[in-house]
């Protein structure tokens, strides 16, 4: 084994691995074990029931919509926060973290109050014929709210570290602002954007507190998967709850694998030969 100047690798590795095992791997294993205790036929019947499939659809589509919205808005916000200094900059910067700090139930209640038919936004939107509360749109807005910081906070440091000389070089070579953004800045931000997107999407998939107040929770239309798992638990049907939860788990894993692969591809230029 290579000798290290700083001692304590064995001890620290042991402690951290034990902790990760206890707090992350064990619960996931228990979940998989519980779901596996169903026979394949029962398992399939539960996870492919019409109500479950409807909940997957509304959860995944809303998460996708929220993530795409945050991709653009979060990038714009990160851009503004790194490129400009204005009065109240500190306040805006601090507010980005608010969705992290706020209990999600509080966010859910606040959003519901705003977007209900008699709320500030809801009443205006209702006049325009747009209904937000108790529709998938409401779910999407709650997801947008809770997952916004992920994109901003992953992109911001990369944008801050971007060498201004790169843009100056591109300008001196005749590039227009749009060409410089698309061909120089965006490719360099891509790994950070992907990391932000995967975190934002995963958070949206699992979000519960902020959504259940605004969603209306109608089975087959506005019932999210996390709520369905909760309902099964309330019915003491642990196996069904575990089975449906395992679908969420699998989705999250696939999502992480895909973004990691994309990220590795986007970063291949940093590999030294």
């Amino acid at each position: 084994m290579k000798r290290n100047v700083l001692p304590g690798l064995r001890l620290s590795l042991g402690v951290t691995l034990f902790y990760v095992g206890l707090i992350v791997v064990l619960p996931i294993a228990a979940l998989v074990f519980k779901a596996a205790s169903l026979g394949p036929a029962d398992y399939w019947q539960i996870v492919s029931s019409a109500r479950a499939v409807a909940s997957y659809r509304v959860t995944v589509l809303s998460a996708l919509g929220a993530t795409i919205f945050n991709l653009f808005f979060g990038l714009a916000l990160a851009w503004v926060l790194t490129r400009y200094r204005f009065r109240g900059w500190r306040i805006v910067d601090a507010m980005v973290d608010l969705p992290f700090a706020l209990p999600t139930a509080v966010a859910g209640i606040a959003l519901t109050a705003l977007f209900a038919n008699n709320g500030w936004f809801g009443s205006v939107l209702a006049d325009l014929g747009i209904k937000v509360a108790y529709t998938p749109l409401g779910i999407m807005i709650a997801m947008c709210f809770t997952s916004l910081p992920f994109i901003v906070r992953t992109v911001q440091p990369v944008l801050e570290d971007l060498d201004p000389a790169l843009e100056e070089a591109a300008q001196s070579l005749g590039g227009s602002d749009w060409e410089i953004f698309r061909k120089v800045i965006l490719p360099l931000l891509t790994p950070a954007l992907l990391a932000g997107v995967s975190l934002s999407f995963a958070r949206s998939l699992g979000e519960f507190g902020a959504i259940i107040f605004i969603a209306g929770n109608q089975p087959m239309s506005t019932e999210i998967t996390a709520l369905l798992v909760f309902i099964r638990l309330e019915e003491y049907d642990y196996q069904a709850a575990a089975a449906i939860a395992s679908v969420l788990l699998l989705t999250a894993f696939v999502m992480l694998a895909v973004t990691n692969t994309l990220q590795a591809r986007a970063l291949r230029y940093t590999v030294r030969s």
């Binding site: 591109a170 070579l173 005749g174 590039g175 360099l188 590999v271 030294r272």
Partner: protein, 343 residues
């Protein structure tokens, strides 16, 4: 392309970085802007490029007033100190970037042919598919130059081009840049704080201090005839002795040197280490050797005069000199400047 700076001024907040600089650069000339940090040399270069706008004065490219032309339309090639290569593009893509974004549309085959030609010019054939992280610092700087040359700039501007490289690579690149300049004949302006680099490479050296030009001329002119103590000190090692000007002669420790056009009174005598010599008998300035340093190219002596001033000079390697010996320093040639006013 001839470049003319006409009373150019630049202020950052309250700091006057460039104060009323006028400068003519002839077509095809290779000019060095030389000065210590904070002398405004990089700001001048960036204003010529259009990366910085001047607060006063005009910059002409040929007959055209280029003062307000934005950088992307100015047609300059700019090479940055830290290369500023696009890290996510290969060497070939970096070089092709300017041609791809150009308003003049080019066939892909024409771009590829030009990239190959430029890779040959900067002697990086076969490295076109590498990423910048996979090549050395010297190679990166050559890619940066090829990228700047790809758009056929009217003027080539280099900001401390070899500053981030180690000494050997720097010497090679210096010679190579000179060759490229002779081959292409493009008007070139570069910034450096390294006097050796400026003197080795440039047709003309412009020396700056505190945002103003203090002297300009060919390397020969500025080396042989520095017009101020600052230039004398900045261009190389110099010994300083306090002197007294009387009857058209500067008197130092019993020796007198002819000077012209200097007012009577206190003065400073500047001499390069190679301008002084050592003799056991005199005449000369009496001094005591305090250290002898042996170097690959000679023997350097550090001596102290009776007035307590330190002198450094070179003697032939076979001379036997020892610390503690007394003798006389003779002055072969020197420059005398009026003493700076007491602070």
């Amino acid at each position: 392309m001839k470049i003319r700076l006409d009373h150019v001024v630049k202020t950052f907040d309250t700091f006057r970085a460039v104060k009323d600089v006028s400068l003519d650069i002839e077509s095809g000339e290779l000019v060095a802007l030389l000065g210590p940090s904070g002398s405004g040399k990089t700001t001048i270069l960036r204003m010529v490029a259009g990366l910085e706008y001047s607060d006063g004065g005009h910059i002409y490219f040929g007959e055209q007033d280029a003062t307000d032309i934005p950088v992307r339309d100015r047609g300059v090639g700019f090479v940055f100190q830290h290369y500023a290569l696009f890290p996510h593009m290969t060497v070939a893509e970096n070089i092709a970037f300017g041609m791809k974004v150009s308003k003049v549309k080019r066939e892909k085959a024409a771009i590829d042919a030009r990239v190959t030609e430029l890779l040959r010019l900067v002697r990086l054939e076969g490295l076109g598919d590498r990423f910048p992280a996979q090549i050395s610092g010297g190679q990166r700087q050559r890619v940066a130059l090829a990228r700047a040359l790809a758009v056929d700039p009217k003027v080539l501007l280099l900001d401390e081009p070899f500053g981030a490289l180690d000494a050997n690579v720097r010497k090679d690149l210096r010679r190579w840049l000179r060759e490229i300049h002779e081959e292409l004949g493009i008007t070139t302006l570069f910034v450096t704080h390294d006097q050796e680099e400026a003197l080795d490479l440039a047709d003309r050296v412009v020396i700056l201090k505190d945002g103003q030009i203090v002297q300009q001329g060919t390397p020969e002119e500025v080396c042989r005839n520095p017009q101020s103590a600052f230039v004398m000190r900045f261009l190389g090692d110099a010994n300083v002795l306090s002197a007294e000007v009387r009857d058209g002669k500067a008197h130092v420790g019993g020796t007198a040197i002819d000077v012209e056009g200097l007012a009577e009174g206190k003065a400073e005598l500047y001499a390069r280490p190679s301008d002084l010599d050592w003799s056991e008998q005199g005449p000369g300035i009496p001094a005591l050797i305090s250290r002898v340093l042996d170097r690959a190219d000679g023997r350097r002596v550090i001596a102290t005069t009776e007035a307590g001033e330190h002198l450094e000079f070179d003697v032939a390697p076979e001379r036997t000199v020892k610390a503690g010996e007394g003798g006389f320093v003779t002055v072969r040639r020197a420059k005398v400047f009026a003493a700076p006013p007491p602070p």
